[in-house]
Subunit: 195 residues, 2 copies
DNA sequence: CTGAAATTGTTATTGACTACCAACTGGTAT
DNA sequence: ATACCAGTTGGTAGTCAATAACAATTTCAG
């Protein structure tokens, strides 16, 4: 179902999609986000601007990466039920991030820097954070068979705040520090917010 | 300096600015954000669309409200130094919010609902949250004469997450619950994130 | 091989936003 | 009062993101 028979059609579509995304990233990093027009990206990828918008709903969307969320959700669900929600979330995040980080570090740094330094993309990212918060709260709730409570939503939002702070600090330090460690530090802070 | 001699010119400018903002809000609430063009707002306010952009950098910006931040910063700074940062922030936020809430509740609800239900505005709001986080961290740091640390930044981000969750829940309940109380509940959750 | 469906390109349109220039208005010096 | 100057405004034209309509092309199924 996730792979609906890889006919010639699907292969071409996948190739086109990847081409658009790669050329877009390359041009954004080279010339800047605002200075790169959709028309330019499309022609670099060998398609028309109409086709661009058939593959991505907006210019901003081409930078997004939805791969992480499903992986994280799975990690959250499989955490032992006796763990508290913060610990479960911490384990899942560190687990997932370590994997991405070790294989994709440079690309992740470039992409994150691009997002954080481009106002339009920063807004978009946070807008996604909103749905990520919902996903986190939901995963935490189903893990213990409970409902999504106000408390879980606040926890998910706080964790996202900590994670985005870690990402920001990581980029500010030009990727010199270990990102998963920064995130663990963020979780540590959340665990001692009693003063 | 904040009032550069109220000559006729300044008065006119202030009046024009307010007229644009009020007509914009009215039209947004009546017809929806996307269905309202800048041209329409401008003509309703009796100016050209060029003048609109001379007063506001974008269509989104006309919905913003920068009044709260300086007030909050002041409240944070004047909290007793012996309080922990979370408590200081809590007191300041509840103090400031109570004041706004008791005088502007209906307008606040309408405006917040508009922002939360309009994707473009939601993104914008979070983009501001980024600078608000910096302001919070800075205010907390100067309060005790210290530097802006990673810990303070995480704390500020977590608080903003809790506050936005409270706002969201408040709008979801159509303003039936007491917003400051919801925010206090959010702070309570943050104070017990040890599990 | 032929027809149905999906994919794409061309063209045109809307709307946010900017640049440029000409007209006007409030404040100021004479 | 007059004339001058700076700040404010509007009109026009332009760019760019995003959408719609239609025609041409290509893939797949029978």
């Amino acid at each position: 179902m996730s792979t609906p028979a890889p006919g010639l059609r699907e292969q071409r579509k996948a190739r086109t999609r990847k081409a658009i995304q790669e050329h877009a990233l390359r041009l954004f990093l080279a010339d800047g986000y605002d200075a790169t027009t959709v028309e330019r990206i499309a022609s670099a990828a060998g398609v028309s601007h109409m086709t661009f918008f058939r593959y991505f709903p907006s210019k901003e969307a081409v930078v997004e990466n939805d791969e992480y969320d499903p992986l994280l959700i799975e990690f959250i669900r499989t955490q032992p039920a006796e763990l508290g929600p913060l610990t479960a979330l911490r384990n899942a995040v560190v687990l997932g991030m370590r994997e991405v980080y070790d294989t994709d570090k440079d690309a992740l740094l470039a992409r994150t820097r691009l997002i954080l330094t481009t106002p339009a993309l920063r807004g978009r990212q946070w807008r996604n954070g909103d749905s990520t918060q919902r996903l986190f709260a939901e995963a935490l709730a189903t893990r213990t068979g409970g409902d999504i409570t106000f408390e879980l939503r606040v926890l998910a939002a706080a964790v996202l705040g900590a994670l985005s702070t870690a990402l920001t600090a990581w980029v500010e330090g030009d990727g010199a520090e270990d990102l998963p460690s920064l995130m663990e530090r963020g979780f540590d802070v959340l665990g001692h917010l009693d003063s």
